[in-house]
Symmetry: C2
Subunit: 220 residues, 2 copies
Amino acid sequence: MPKGDTALAKGNVSQSVVRRLPRYHRFLKDLLAAGTVRISSGDLSAKMGLTASQIRQDLNCFGGFGQQGYGYNVKDLYEEIGRILGLDQTHRAILLGAGNLGRAIALHMDFAARGFTLLGIFDCNPALVGMEVGGQTILDSAGLEEFCAVHHPDVAILCIPKEAARETAAMLVRRGIRGFWNFSHYDLALDYEGIAVENVHLGDSLSTLCFRLNALAQES
Amino acid sequence: MPKGDTALAKGNVSQSVVRRLPRYHRFLKDLLAAGTVRISSGDLSAKMGLTASQIRQDLNCFGGFGQQGYGYNVKDLYEEIGRILGLDQTHRAILLGAGNLGRAIALHMDFAARGFTLLGIFDCNPALVGMEVGGQTILDSAGLEEFCAVHHPDVAILCIPKEAARETAAMLVRRGIRGFWNFSHYDLALDYEGIAVENVHLGDSLSTLCFRLNALAQES
DNA sequence: TAGATTGTTAATCGATTAACAATC
DNA sequence: TAGATTGTTAATCGATTAACAATC
């Protein structure tokens, strides 16, 4: 790729690299806020706890953003990675499940910072329908398909149980949902192709911590 | 390791393997609930969307749980993996930060299923202190160190901002916290050694979904 | 120019997959 | 016993690290 070109995915980028991009973005944001103008891969690697080689290798998946003898311009690189991640794109999201987790996600996440608009929050529990969450009224899941037909969301956030997720998925895909932020235990990726699924399994994460605590205790 | 021995970590187990263990545990739980008595690595691999080789390789990091010509006993393997993960151990946890996310974690997670007891929930916001969350009263962070000295928690769940996390970490480690379930953007692992840190970065996860949606759109 | 640091190629390391003898 | 399936070794694949020529 010619230098200076605004880069997007160059061929196939590995999952390992993609997973590191948001972290680069965060560190660069902090550096920018601290007034740092330029940084070398060596300095950044020390701050982030990885190798300079890896940083250069990762960035060069998308283009040559640095300058020999100088390093990287913090602001430029920050913005470039934002574009690579697609944070400047706009997405229309719906949230399914207004339980504790769903409500927390709705209230806590800065969707706008990543180009997401939360179009609607749905639940099938009559006790929750009509309740206000972050300025939005929880809607009845019964009207979900109709809502999709009218508002054309492209992303669904699944904060509902496994079976409910399985039952709704086909309709959502049929109605044009291309991306799922999946907090349920239903494995969408096994049943559908050509959609983007990002799983968040909090229980698995806590179990992993269990394992590590154990391993730590056994070391001594 | 001799067959039949109750296995724990056998030498060093890679992160990749550890990350897959909770998923095996979930699938086995479902199989058990469905009344399945035995399963082969081939059948399980088809259900989970990975290779039979990988399953056998993963399990054999901890011991020989199968039987040639038969496969694996679902109940035994389920329980074995639970032990490997250390879900039978008991842990004393405290939760820092009773904002939307903290409260959702407190209400939503099944801590008991992984041997965790939530000893206390802390916040520095006077508007939240004294409020009830899941049967617990939110305590003032001012009393956190005193609380640690008395109750000896060993795990902290960080649902507080980056700077607050950084400021509290040293005290927590000094007071005997060995494990962190970290939802903040503060990178504990860079500053402390010999502690278990499991990071959950919801923002990074959402950014990754952004990237994948983008990649999907460009394919066509 | 001299020094610094990139972009990129080559070497290493680790993880996944394939193969198959052991054995239930 | 014959068939099935494991445990394990060997082969492959991919990701990380090291090295260095290019160049600002």
